[in-house]
């Protein structure tokens, strides 16, 4: 009897211990702010909001999300089995697109082993940013709760540091996040100073740049030759042997089927880059383009689109007017250049609407600035049938706000990516909830 009772008692204690462990685990999960809630699938009817479609004007209407898409837009849409979300007095926007980031490629800036945005080598276009995107990066929820639903993730480094990809900010694998667009990154030889401690003379800088351009042209000659051999081998006229991943990664670029994103910033370099692109008949996008305002007509004339930013940055020359970096995007747009904006960040991509807000304020105007982070990049990347505006049939990348998303007082109220209703949680919001009214407070 005694022994049985003892066993029973032990079991009871065991049960207590287990329930204590369970309780402890659940408490520790709620305390540690490591995770965000799961997204919700289903149909959603956004009722009575003001739709800022970007493509077709701004008007009051319902919007139905179904099967991951914007199923329909119209007045008094039947709800059916959809969850109805009252959007009266609210605004419905297409998800914002950041056209240049290292989101998901970098976790902690100063800890190099948490950074995957840069590889060793000068001609390595086969390095795929998409491979190294961490779908569980803490910065991804931090970013999307501000209405950013898509981003270009790009490698950086030498002349050809790798291949960038467009991702949607929701999914458990890079493949689920991939939004159907890639581009090869290139850094155009620069005649600017690398930093304040770059002590090279003007002549030396020029010499270095000339040499780099010569190398680039030699590389390009090889790329074209390789593409010719490849075409011949595909046609069965020649055999192509050996493993050459960097050259293979350039084939679609050489054939004009894939963009070359060319980072170039100084006026004379932009001029050279335009000539280089035109001479080689390339399908290119210029990125950075800090001094684009000084040569905007020529960029427009060449018909090359531009991704610029961060808008909030310091002028590149001591003599520049204080607001020129803020005004650059607007000046290029006014000259007829197709412009998209980027933050060029990994941790604060969430500031994209404010970057656009500054561009808007300093000459671009609100409509054009909004376009530069929605429809313009979608068109640039050839995915405007999928994202970039509120239009039936497009992917349901949508957010609902209580005002102009460029204003810091505006809150995002609902967020959808690919039709998933994404919780508005991130490490930042969870820490707020945990610590606003800390308990225990001060222990005396």
């Amino acid at each position: 009897m005694n022994s049985i009772n003892k066993i029973k008692e032990n079991m009871r204690n065991g049960a207590y211990i287990i329930s204590a462990i369970v309780l402890f685990l659940s408490l520790s999960i709620s305390v540690h702010s490591q995770r965000v809630a799961k997204s919700e699938a289903g149909s959603f009817l956004l009722k009575g909001g003001t739709l800022v479609t970007v493509s077709d004007g701004t008007f009051q209407s319902d919007l139905l999300i179904k099967d991951g898409k914007i199923a329909s837009i119209g007045e008094a849409l039947p709800a059916g089995d959809a969850t109805v979300i009252d959007c009266t007095g609210k605004f419905v926007y297409p998800g914002l697109i950041d056209s240049g980031t290292s989101l998901g490629l970098r976790e902690v800036g100063s800890v190099s082993l948490t950074s995957d945005h840069s590889e060793i080598g000068d001609f390595i276009p086969h390095m795929e940013a998409l491979t190294a995107v961490n779908p569980n990066a803490v910065a991804i929820p931090v970013t999307r709760v501000n209405g950013i639903t898509s981003a270009i993730v790009k490698p950086s480094g030498g002349t050809f540091p790798g291949t960038a990809a467009l991702i949607n900010l929701h999914g458990y694998t890079p493949q689920q996040m991939f939004a159907g667009y890639k581009a090869v990154i290139m850094n155009f030889p620069s005649t600017g100073k690398r930093g304040w401690r770059d002590s090279r003379s003007e002549e030396d800088i020029k010499k270095d740049a000339d040499k780099a351009l010569k190398n680039l042209n030699e590389t390009w000659r090889k790329v074209k030759l390789y593409a010719k051999i490849d075409s011949a081998s595909v046609a069965g006229r020649k055999s192509k042997d050996g493993y050459n991943p960097s050259m293979d990664a350039m084939l679609e670029v050489a054939r004009g089927n894939r963009h070359l994103m060319i980072e170039v910033n100084k006026k004379v370099d932009i001029e050279s880059a335009i000539k280089w692109v035109t001479d080689n008949k390339l399908n290119a996008i210029l990125t950075g383009v800090k001094e684009g305002y000084r040569i905007a007509d020529k960029i427009a004339e060449a018909g090359i689109p531009v991704i610029t930013g961060p808008v909030m940055s310091i002028p590149s020359r001591q003599s520049d007017k204080y607001d020129i970096a803020y005004a650059n995007a607007g000046k290029m747009r006014a000259a007829g250049v197709k412009v998209a904006l980027r933050t060029d960040k990994y941790e604060n991509v969430r500031n994209l609407p404010y970057e656009a807000g500054f561009a808007a304020t300093y000459g671009m105007g609100t409509d054009e600035a909004l376009r530069a982070i929605t429809l313009s990049p979608a068109e640039m990347f050839g995915v405007d049938d999928q994202i970039g505006s509120l239009s039936a049939g497009k992917l349901a990348n949508v957010f609902v706000s209580d005002g102009d998303p460029f204003e810091t007082r505006t809150d995002i109220l609902h967020l959808f990516i690919g039709g998933w209703k994404v919780p508005l949680e991130s490490r930042h919001t969870l820490l707020y909830e945990e610590f606003l009214e800390r308990d225990p407070g001060v222990k005396e």
Binding site: S33, E107, V108, G109, S110, V111, V138, A139, S190, T191, G192, K193, R194, G195, W196, R197, N265, K266, K267, E291, M312, S313, I314, S316, R317, Q318, S319, K321, Y322, D323, Y346, E347, N348, R350, N351, Y354, G357, F358, A360, T361, Y362, F406, E407, T408, R409, T410, D411, R427, H428, T429, L431, Y432, F435, L436, E437, R438, G441, V442
Partner: protein, 447 residues
């Protein structure tokens, strides 16, 4: 001859500290955001001899006084940045864990266009700080943005209390422990740097007291490093401490308690939100970024709601720049606290006006629009917390130092004849914080 020299000296002194650094202005019909006394519509602000003479309706001034028509505009106190490295030539004296004796005021560069660019964002006062390489870095200078003056001395805010930079965590650990193989290599070591410095200062003070009371005939060896720590213990210097993690913030408060020091503003203080009740209980202040995080491990567990949590826990909080770019739009950075924590307009504006003034010990002079205070004013075309706001005028001591209608094509005061068009910089080092400038630049270009 002797009298002539004295006369010339007087002229020079008059030139430096006289009328040239203060002026008269009448700002008409603005929406005046006083910070301490509500919002006043259609109100004038009269500044005389660099001081606010009156705030009210229908004010008038003498014939020669410049009148600014602020109809439809917002008039607020000049913005104050409690953490800046703009306008200084060097940031770090990274030669020892304690270099309390060095002084940023010895490195002011009046030709730095970054001062003008800060003015263009409405900033009239900044706290030019030593960097964060050392646990005890050096003394800082509170500057008035008198851009246009060529004498570095004119930038000093006369009468502002002395301040000193302390630094905790990764930066001093990296520079001294990892870099030089000496303590501190850990947060344990950093605590002991402070305890040693304060204890030696107490010994030093005792030795001088003994000597002065005739206890010894030989005076102690003069030591400015120790004397600076004595001045901190005596409450003559406000500590501004670069810090991130909750544990190190608690550590320093415990050390300060032991030495009877209570004037402290924690800088950056990304995990201040975790110990907000302790900060409030100590009476410590916090000067934070609006949303910077993840650039190093000690800021990985940050939240952009930091300023709001600190504010709600009654910690005097400001938002600073530590960056040549952020200093240009502190009004926007303050606006982010409405996104992250729903601060009211006045609470948000206090973060860049009255609160940094309190933290620098200059709130009797600046930080709000009140009669008798300095004529430091920023005028915006829209409400300054709106993304669409653009600074139109910035006044320092009643002188218009930025006027958007008279913004020169090139504001440089010194132009190198060999480089008429200055070089284009692909990467602007000044774009980011300069806390670690001068220390292994190429390896540690982060905060």
């Amino acid at each position: 001859m002797k009298y002539q020299i004295i006369f010339i000296c007087l002229l020079l002194v008059d030139g430096l500290y006289g009328q040239s650094l203060s002026g008269d202005v009448l700002i008409k019909n603005g929406t005046v955001l006083t910070i301490t006394n509500g919002i006043k519509e259609n109100t004038d602000v009269l500044i005389q001899n660099g001081k606010i003479k009156s705030i009210g309706e229908g004010l008038s001034a003498g014939d020669n006084v410049r009148v600014i028509d602020a109809d439809g505009m917002y008039v607020m106190p000049g913005i104050i940045d409690a953490h800046s490295h703009a306008g200084i030539d060097v940031v770090n004296e990274a030669s020892a864990p304690n270099t309390a004796e060095v002084f940023v005021g010895d490195a002011i560069n009046p030709y730095s266009v970054s001062i003008y660019r800060a003015l263009a964002g409405g900033v009239s006062v900044s706290h030019a700080m030593h960097g964060s390489a050392n646990a005890i870095g050096g003394q800082c200078e509170t500057m008035k943005h008198h851009y246009g003056e060529e004498d570095p001395e004119t930038y000093k805010m006369v009468g502002a209390p002395r301040t000193i930079k302390f630094a905790l965590g990764e930066n001093p650990m990296r520079v001294h422990g990892e870099g030089n193989g000496i303590q501190p290599k850990s947060r344990m070591g950093i605590e002991q740097v402070f305890r040693k410095a304060f204890s030696e200062a107490q010994e030093y003070q005792k030795a001088w007291k003994t000597y002065k009371s005739g206890g010894t005939r030989v005076a102690p060896k003069l030591d400015l490093r120790k004397q600076t720590l004595v001045d901190i213990i005596n409450g003559e210097i406000i500590i501004h401490c670069h810090s991130y993690r909750a544990d190190e913030i608690l550590m320093l408060m415990n050390v300060l308690k032991d030495y009877g020091v209570d004037k402290i503003c924690f800088q950056h203080v990304n995990e201040g939100f975790k110990v907000a009740p302790e900060l409030a209980a100590f009476g410590a202040h916090a000067s934070v970024f609006a949303d910077w995080w993840a650039y190093k491990f000690e800021v990985y567990y940050s939240t952009a709601y930091n300023a709001a949590i600190l504010t709600r826990n009654n910690v005097i909080t400001s938002i600073n720049s530590d960056s040549g770019e952020l200093i240009r739009h502190l009004y926007h950075e303050a606006g982010k606290t409405q996104k992250y924590g729903d601060l009211t307009d006045n609470e948000a504006l206090r973060l860049i006006t009255l609160h940094p003034a309190i933290q620098l010990g200059i709130d009797e002079r600046v930080g709000s629009l009140e009669v008798g205070k300095d004529g430091d004013v920023a005028i915006f075309n829209k409400h300054p917390l709106s993304i669409y706001a653009v600074a139109q005028y910035t006044l320092v001591d009643g002188l218009v130092r930025f006027d958007i209608n008279e913004d020169p094509a090139d504001v440089r005061l010194d132009v190198n004849p060999d480089e008429k068009i200055p070089a284009f910089h692909e990467i602007d080092a000044h774009d980011h914080h300069r806390c670690m400038e001068g220390v292994f630049e190429e390896l540690f270009s982060h905060h």
